[in-house]
Amino acid sequence: MNGAQEPGFFEMKAPFNLLWLQSAGCGGCSMSLLCSGARDLIGALEAVGIRILWHPSLSEASGAEVTRIFEQCLSGEVALDALCVEGALLRGPRGTGRFHRHAGSGVPMAEWVMKLAGVARHTLAVGSCAAWGGVAAAGENHTDACGLQYEGDQPGGLLGAGWKGRGGLPVINIAGCPCHPDWITETLAALALGAFGAKDLDSLGRPRFFADHLVHHGCTRNEYYEFKASAHKPSDLGCLMENLGCKGTQAHADCNIRLWSGGGSCARGGAPCISCTEPGFEEPGHPFHETPKLAGIPIGLPTDMPKAWFVALAALSKSATPKRVRDNAVADHQVVVPPVKKTGLK
């Protein structure tokens, strides 16, 4: 600890001051954070040097005391190491930002965010609203919502494409709707320990430790996927990709490795992955529960698989599907269980 001279050792900066703002979102990423499996969430953050200056759901300070904390950060009296923004930034109506005024000060929230990001060492978009605009930007985007540094998949957003924080990094996009509690705590810990750099971000600014995986990885429906034994209706056990809209083979996240809420995930709950870590997920151009197809073949194929190969393999594997897999795929519980062999497994 604190022994930067030895390779691999962390350079902990304590205190690492954290300010959390809620912009136009649902608060779900904060609620998800509180589901951290840590023995003591606040203590676990403190243990790596993180001090919460203010969080809207947790802190004592209210009203004018809060505005005072903002001002102390702006004047440099208090060092702001991490600014976490949850929720989209609303620029409407007509560029006024009045769809979201910060309570108490009357100033549009987007203005506070811009000012505070200017003094923060690192700025983090917590959730897909803050990263890309997300659900707030759905439909015709009536509120002119955007992310901190993206508008959908287009660089720009509130702060601009070339923006970098004082620590030299662009906005760190902890995407997800909501994001997993560990994605937040592990990104913050890495920053506080001086163990996070530009190489740790993917091309959309997401921490690679979760974004370098696909939701498909670790999915319990993988045997059904292998044989293209597909679910047809909600509660079927089969693969959700062919008919029910699942984007797990394309979406970047480790949801089926890390697991949620005591061992679940969307797919384990029987729900398709809607690729909520990806920009623009809120407007897929088709109903969320249906897979768009062309000539009977899903349009959204696995990220890096040529279509002809997919079609050929699908045809082959469908013809080789064991009865067990085929029957279970369209049932809500196993109707045929794997046979127990009489001889030792080879």
């Binding site: 809620q22 649902c26 004592e60 209210s62 609303l90 729900a271």
Partner: protein, 475 residues
Amino acid sequence: MTRIVVGPFNRVEGDLEVTLEVKDGVVAEAWAGSPLYRGFEQILRGKHPMDALMFAPRICGICSVSQSMAAAAALADAMGLAPAPNGRITRNLAHAVENVADHFTHFYLFFMPDFARAEYAARAWHARAVERFRAVRGSAAADVLPSRTAFLGAMGTLVGKWPHSLAIQPGGVARALEASEKIRLFGLLRDFRRHAETVLFNDALEAVAALDSAAALVRWAAERPRGDFGAFLEIADDLALARLGRGVDRFMCYGNYPQAESQFLPGGVWDGQLRALDAQAIAEDISHAWLDGETRHPAQGVTRPQDEKAAGYTWCKAPRLAGLPMETGALARQAVAGHPLARDLVAGEGANVRSRVVARLLEIAVILPEMERWAQQLVPGEPFCAQGELPQEGAGVGLVEAARGSLGHWLRIEGGRIANYQIVSPTTWNFSPRDADGTPGPLEQALVGTPAGEGNLAVQHVVRSFDPCMVCTVH
């Protein structure tokens, strides 16, 4: 007269700004402002009706399952679909897990930390409140968050994850529980019961649920230390919280937790006597909201932002039942359901800071044992999801109870698409602005007469006693 603007109001879910006119140290008039508009009702128009299941939970990160339940109920209503019994029970369990977790979160993280503030340093209980409830640093945070997480861990088994699950369906849930999962679930519920019985009540849940009058509650609290509930009751007595934040004393409940033939918590109105709920008598007034249009029933409601409207001071509409503001929440639910303690509290000193908090904790004691019963009613192997067809033209209503009160979704389908979708949330009722007659909303009325000014936290207690969820309020 001095005018005070209080905000940002934290430890409520979302953005709240309260404006107070203070005369001789007490609030003469109050205005509740919701300064955030996201426009879900506009977003949903034109979408496939089933897309409501993706958008609705994202209205709110803390009432996420409640929003899913209302959307699923509205869709099922439009489809004429009854859920599979297992699906109904699983949804009730997921909904109750969220509601109980929300009561827990509200009590420990949002409400109690105010008593640890330096303003109360002279009180006999202050040092204990600091040790236990101080925001972020109190021992309760380290104690309560892991048990809340473990309890919400039931969501992984029930609906995949929390918040924001797409597993909640019109016909039930998209996941069938196996026999071993039924056992795991039951164990999780029993484990949380143990935590509540030792830390929160220092008594059996059944004993708390059986308290049948205000006097019985006082006797119970005096018998021996009563955990964190007891700590609250002591503070409430010392600060006379029962005389703070008197509401409109008209209580509404839509009904919740459907059983085979009835609802575990019935719908209705309590204003000294029990009345049937007429959902057709609901109307949303927009005279003081930054919105265009006129007063309408939500089935015909419109949402058109107009930020330059001079009479506006909030994005929140003003729902009224037969023209009257209503209070919703745990106290309303328990009063309507006829719980003798809730009825007696309401008959005595009405809705106030103390009775609202008591009702919330009482509800934990009432619901948890019921959840254990429900979990045992699951029949693995039987269907968890009934299948139905959406009509090309149709309408549906979904009325449920979130932790903080009555939540309704009104859906109209035309040409297979959502033609209109209106959402009326609990805090829309409780924190509604004035209506066209100038009648203030429930919070606005509850704040009148509250001591206010530098160093006085009474306004904070009144506001938080409603457990407001502002992201739901305006959506």
